[in-house]
């Protein structure tokens, strides 16, 4: 091995070590502390903390909000990715930019906009009040705020893939007599299924963990408009540290499961990718 090669190996080891240490301090330790603190008084106290009615309501609401918002994000993401990848239309790059907006805008602003639009003194407030529709400080507002935050995830995952795959298979299906829906279900969807799942998982993780946007629109009504991240904050502020960490640990576990699934998907995908490559 040359001197340069040895230097290279040394540098490589140092960089890897540095990355591991930083990741350990910044990512690993907090996660470990969450679990340690949550179980500080034993599993019984942990379960009791989770069995609290407000906490259960928060979990239920979080799941409901994630379900609703991820559904909207998925439908929007597939439609937007399809438009952008398949057609060249006026405003295409504008749409691309708008999809990215939630990445660059603070979630708090997303929540604030909801209040300004749908709140009692908001633009649409009087109209909504006439028909007795509640959006802010209720489920619809929380879902809308979460949708705003999660909107880019599915579309961003799909656009590069669909652009790379091209429209030929869809055209082939159409010329073989398939209808638009048949083409979508039998050709388009199977071709994007892994990327779609990855996008859904990421959107779901974000939806469950969202704090800022939801915090503004929820109104913190215990047992009614509190999601898990909000519940963690409330418990923490009430000095119920173990309970706060217990709820936090559930969130952390959800995140870990999401990442695990994503990893498994990527493994599976890279395993089959060689088989799915397009002939050149």
């Amino acid at each position: 091995m040359t001197a340069r090669g040895r230097d290279g190996a040394l540098a490589r080891r140092m960089l890897i070590g540095l990355a591991v240490v930083v990741a350990g301090i910044v990512l690993g330790m907090p996660l470990a502390i969450v679990l340690v603190e949550a179980f500080a008084r034993g599993p019984a106290a942990y379960l009791a903390a989770l069995a609290d009615q407000d906490t259960l309501d928060a979990i239920r609401l979080t799941v409901l909000v994630a379900l609703c918002s991820v559904t909207v994000t998925t439908v929007f993401g597939v439609a937007a990715a399809w438009c952008i990848a398949r057609f060249d239309f006026r405003g295409r790059s504008l749409l691309l930019t708008v999809i990215d907006l939630p990445f660059s805008v603070s979630p708090v602003i997303a929540g604030l906009v909801q209040v300004l639009l749908f709140g009692r003194r908001g633009w649409l407030g009087p109209f909504l009040e006439t028909y007795d529709i509640r959006i802010v400080f209720a489920l619809p507002g929380i879902v809308l705020a979460t949708v705003f935050v999660t909107l880019p995830f599915v579309a961003r995952e799909l656009i590069p893939l669909m652009q790379e795959q091209g429209a030929e298979e869809e055209e082939a299906a159409l010329s073989l007599g398939a209808s638009g829906w048949q083409t979508f279900w039998r050709v388009t969807l199977p071709n994007i299924r892994f990327a779609l799942l990855t996008g859904v998982l990421l959107a779901n993780a974000r939806a469950m963990g969202e704090f800022g946007a939801v915090s503004v629109v929820s109104g913190h009504i215990r047992g009614a408009t509190n999601t898990m991240p909000l519940q963690v904050e409330i418990l923490f502020n009430d000095y119920q540290i173990e309970a706060a960490f217990a709820v936090a640990s559930v969130l952390a576990l959800l995140a870990l499961v999401t990442l695990g699934l994503k990893l498994a998907l990527e493994r599976h995908q890279s395993g089959t990718h060689a088989n799915e490559e397009r002939p050149t």
């Binding site: 030929e168 298979e169 055209e171 082939a172 299906a173 159409l174 010329s175 073989l176 007599g177 398939a178 209808s179 048949q182 039998r186 050709v187 199977p190 071709n191 060689a274 088989n275 799915e276 490559e277 397009r278 002939p279 050149t280």
Partner: protein
């Protein structure tokens, strides 16, 4: 002709932004014939094929399938089999499922029973000699095999017309030749009206019953392969079909003169500026110590020797049988004179050529060529 044509293309025009892809194209395709759309890239041939298939909508004009106007019909209703350049096989389906696709998406009322579909697919896979690959995925096949799967898939819906976009472009030379012969044999067998797009003149001339030469969105010439080669309708067609040498010249009293007065030959055409084309095998070389040209390069290619001959400022291609080259006993650097046995003279590049004939058989033209003269290769 219109009542017997399988496909009649009436005044099709198509623009993409500022680019005119097709400009008022008319074309009749007869039942059972194999037609080649031949042209350089950007000539509009693929656009025309996609418009016939219904994958693209023309800006104006009509496509008639028999007596029926197909212009308004959706791609899936045209009963057209389309083979894509890169095959576009469904990557997540087996070969069998790929071929069965067109049969499975038929509305239930008209769909064949499951077993009948399986029978048809099996038969088609036998036709393309791929029965043993039915359970494979497209990624596990070679290029030639994918091509044949794409063909079987297109044939499964029993199309009235088969359209192929650059069917051999993505294959290596040897497979390409084999598949070309095989496709020709298959066409003889099934006698399906077929149109294929190609930029390869050999492919068009070998495979097609008729060749449609296209350039810049227009049809330059339609004819049998032999006709378009020997009687090109325009300078473009002559240049595009096969290697040729291009010589700027001047016609005066039936004589074709090069820029400095050298005589190329005789022609029956009005006086004026013109362009003469002489194919490499139509040029003769005659060794002479004081000759006006010299051999720059020589290479043997199978039974032919190809020479690059320096002539004035230009290089000309000359081809001759190996035996003649050996008999002449000359080498690179030797001086010689050139004589054209035959050629094509275009007074108007958009009109058919006048025949170039030797002034006296065997006459040499011993003149240097003007600047524009040069070699055209395809």
């Amino acid at each position: 002709m219109s009542n017997t044509a399988a496909i009649e293309i009436r005044g099709i025009s198509k623009r993409f932004g500022n680019h005119v892809a097709l400009d008022n194209v008319h074309l009749d395709i007869r039942p059972g014939e194999l037609v080649a759309l031949l042209g350089p890239s950007g000539s509009g041939k693929t656009s025309l094929l996609r418009i016939i298939a219904g994958l693209e909508a023309p800006d104006s004009g009509q496509i008639m399938f028999g007596m029926e106007d197909a212009s308004r019909r959706h791609a899936g209703e045209r009963e057209v089999g389309f083979v894509f350049q890169h095959y576009a096989l469904f990557r997540h389906m087996t070969v069998f499922e790929n071929v069965a696709f067109g049969l499975r998406v038929v509305p239930r009322a008209r769909r064949l029973p499951r077993t009948a579909i399986a029978d048809r697919v099996t038969k088609l896979l036998e036709l393309v000699q791929l029965g043993w690959l039915a359970d494979r995925y497209p990624s596990q096949l070679s290029g030639g095999q994918r091509q044949r799967v794409a063909l079987a898939r297109a044939l499964a819906i029993e199309p009235k017309v088969l359209l192929l976009d650059e069917p051999f472009a993505a294959l290596d030379a040897k497979v390409r030749k084999e598949l070309r012969r095989w496709l020709r044999a298959l066409h003889e067998e099934v006698k399906l009206t077929s149109v294929f797009v190609t930029h390869d003149q050999d492919e068009a001339l070998e495979l097609a019953d008729r060749v449609v030469v296209m350039s810049a969105g227009k049809v330059e010439q339609i004819g049998a392969p032999g006709d378009v080669y020997t009687a090109p309708a325009s300078a473009f067609v002559h240049e595009f079909l096969g290697d040729t040498n291009r010589l700027a010249c001047h016609i005066a009293a039936g004589r074709v003169l090069l820029a400095d007065g050298g005589v190329l030959g005789r022609v029956e055409a009005p006086d004026g500026e013109a362009i003469a084309y002489v194919r490499p095998h139509e040029l003769d070389i005659l060794p002479a110590k004081d000759g006006s040209a010299f051999i720059r390069h020589a290479s043997t290619f199978g039974p032919l020797v190809r020479l690059v001959v320096g002539f004035g400022t230009a290089n000309l291609d000359v081809a001759m049988p190996v035996e003649r080259w050996v008999r002449l006993g000359i080498a690179v650097g030797d001086r010689l004179n050139l004589a054209a046995r035959y050629g094509a003279v275009f007074s108007d590049p958009a009109a058919p050529a006048a025949q170039l004939l030797p002034e006296v058989p065997g006459t040499m033209f011993a003149a240097s060529i003007c600047q524009q003269g040069g070699t055209q290769r395809n």
